[in-house]
């Protein structure tokens, strides 16, 4: 069944080609993009079902044996991430059908969305470090164009910051790949894992590891290199912001987890301690930024940063439980954060603005929307029994097990502040009486807006109320990450 690993990529490439060929026909393009995303969800579900019991699927592209060719690997972590990407891709495409204007569609919005998700899935599935770089470029180039497409001056400015910082990150990444190749002569990640472990402990590998940490740290928006994110995400249209917020920074987190569990594990005391304190700083600065803002999209953007800190915290603690917490947190966060950006878009359509001061009264006029905001928002804040509670609980438990009580205190404090700023949005936009007249005519929201929001809210509830199977899957995925031997054997075969 190893051919299955390439199926998500083939599906996305095919649907982007067909959508590109039908660029002139709006409705057909939308139908193709939706069909492609549904097919991706099916393919990802199949892949997840095959890897659910811990099997690692490996595909040697073009039949070149590893470590010489490019290997595609689907372990449980990768399959979970592909599934999440498919869910975000599908909901964002649905939301786009009701939102994106004819101009953006004419310039290839849907094919670009497909190529973006193709790049994301490729980055999750590849087992080759240089190929990871290539997939990063695929998704970045697509995201650059989507970011700048059809926008005015502020959107262009946001896109410019996004492009500049991400290019710097790519250069660092590529330098790291070059240095690693020079030292080991291989790019296959499983092979690298063996060679780096054999290398002399003279600081060379630690220096290379720091290059990777900086490169992926920029892409993941970790402290202190996060400032491009709030400067750019809030300028894009709601479905674009949701897709970027939900998915793109998590590709950076995925890459961090992958290389710092598989390749750079020789000097854990040094590298992972740095990641630990960077995570704490990321959590704290992100949440402080969020508390100080009054624009819904900016608040949500700063919360992405703060949440990234939790995800890398699990990597830094480097125990099976902590990594399971990270993986569960990523799943919870992707679903919840995408949904919050969708709701923010609907708030903007109904109230005419993202500014909290000019919003109000939505709980009375749209009680259903209030419920749909309440679920992801308070899940993000960590209220039991929603999904965010279990995600935070596992991480805090792991921190307590490692006796990192300072870190634990920070994690809890940041959780409280997150709850505070979610309550702020809820009170200001929904509960307080409406100000006199909306600042501009409201656009209204319909089927294509509410369906993805309701679907993601339902998923949040399932992740919370039926957390057990998902937590055990996260635990299995974390066990695979903590024992790279299984991954290496799956890729390279039994050691002779």
């Amino acid at each position: 069944m190893s051919g299955l690993v390439a199926l998500p990529l083939v599906v996305m490439l095919a649907s982007s080609i067909v959508a590109l060929a039908c660029l002139r026909y709006r409705r057909i393009q939308e139908a193709i993009a939706l069909t492609g995303m549904v097919a991706l969800v099916v393919a990802a579900g199949w892949l997840l079902a095959e890897t659910w019991d811990g099997q690692i699927l490996v595909l040697q592209a073009a039949n070149w044996p590893a470590p010489f060719g490019i290997t595609l690997v689907a372990d449980l972590f990768a399959s979970i991430m592909v599934m999440l990407a498919a869910i975000v891709g599908l909901t964002a495409t649905m939301y786009s059908v009701g939102t994106i204007d004819a101009d953006r569609e004419r310039y290839g919005y849907y094919p670009l969305m497909n190529i973006l998700v193709l790049g994301v899935c490729g980055a999750f599935l590849t087992g080759d470090l240089f190929n990871l770089y290539v997939w990063f470029e695929v998704l970045l180039v697509a995201s650059f164009v989507i970011m700048a497409l059809g926008g005015g001056r502020p959107q262009m400015e946001g896109a410019l910051k996004y492009v500049a910082l991400n290019l710097v990150s790519s250069v660092l990444f590529l330098s790291g790949v070059g240095l690693l190749y020079a030292a080991t002569g291989t790019l296959n990640m499983a092979d690298l894992s063996l060679r780096v472990a054999e290398a002399e402990a003279d600081g060379y590998m630690t220096a290379v590891a720091m290059l990777f940490l900086t490169a992926f740290g920029i892409k993941a928006a970790m402290f202190p290199l996060f400032f491009w994110l709030p400067a750019s995400y809030h300028t894009a249209p709601a479905p674009v912001a949701a897709l970027f917020a939900g998915l793109l920074t998590k590709v950076g987190v995925y890459a961090l987890i992958r290389v710092f569990t598989l390749i750079f594990t020789t000097d854990v005391g040094y590298t992972h301690t740095i990641i630990l304190w960077l995570s704490v700083a990321t959590m704290v600065t992100g949440v402080l930024g969020a508390v100080s803002h009054n624009d819904v999209k900016r608040i949500l953007s700063f919360h992405i940063i703060s949440q990234i800190g939790y995800m890398t915290l699990g990597l830094a603690l480097f125990t099976p439980l902590a990594l399971a917490g990270s993986i569960f947190y990523i799943g919870h966060h992707i679903i919840v954060k995408t949904n919050l950006f969708f709701v923010a878009g609907v708030i903007r359509r109904l109230g005419g603005t993202y500014e909290l001061a000019h919003l109000g009264g939505l709980a009375r006029s749209r009680p259903a929307l209030a419920v749909l905001f309440f679920i992801p928002a308070f899940s993000l804040g960590g209220i039991p029994p929603l999904s965010g509670f279990f995600a935070k609980f596992v991480l805090v438990r792991a921190a307590a097990d490692e006796r990192e009580f300072v870190v634990l205190a920070f994690a809890l404090g940041v959780g409280l502040l997150t709850l505070l700023s979610m309550t702020k949005i809820f009170v200001e936009a929904f509960l307080k009486p409406a100000p006199d007249g909306p600042p501009e005519p409201a656009a209204g929201a319909g089927f294509w807006h509410y369906t993805p929001i309701a679907g993601l809210a339902a998923l949040t509830l399932v992740l919370g109320f039926a957390a057990e199977p998902f937590l055990s899957a996260a635990t299995e995925a974390a066990d695979q990450l903590m024992e790279p031997g299984r991954y290496i054997t799956a890729v390279l075969g039994e050691p002779q």
Binding site: S2, V10, L20, A61, A62, N63
Partner: protein, 138 residues
């Protein structure tokens, strides 16, 4: 640009560039060259046409919109990648057929060449999709 010399030389030069681009694509399988270099050279033939007779003329000479070339090229590359799957091998695996030609040599044609042809079309499409609108803006 309105130059009599350029206009008259263009037909000759552009056809030469196109032939050379196909040659590059062909030899790229085992020697320097390939779909990317060939595609750039083919695109430069059309850019030369546009310089001599204007971008509208180049679009007419191209016959199909550049975007169509991108889609076709990507589709060709995907097809080349999937031929191996139909034969039961992993994706992108190369397959060859040997053709008997009237001459002495036997011709080996394979999916890597098909893939490179896809790259060639994508490169021509992308380059013209960028350059022609820029020339039309003037």
């Amino acid at each position: 640009m309105n130059s009599l010399v350029l206009r008259n030389m263009m037909r000759f030069l552009a056809s030469l560039l196109l032939v050379a681009s196909v040659f590059l694509l062909w030899r790229g399988h085992n020697e320097p060259g390939g779909g990317f270099a060939g595609g750039l050279m083919a695109a430069s033939a059309f850019v030369l046409h546009a310089l001599a007779l204007g971008p509208a003329g180049a679009r007419r000479a191209l016959r199909v919109p550049p975007l169509f070339l991108i889609a076709t090229g990507l589709g060709t590359a995907l097809l080349a990648a999937l031929i191996g799957v139909i034969a039961g091998d992993p994706i992108l695996t190369g397959h060859w057929v040997t053709l008997d030609t009237p001459g002495a040599e036997r011709l080996k044609v394979g999916t890597p060449l098909l893939f490179d042809t896809g790259v060639y079309l994508v490169v021509v499409g992308v380059v013209l999709n960028i350059i022609l609108p820029l020339m039309e803006d003037e």
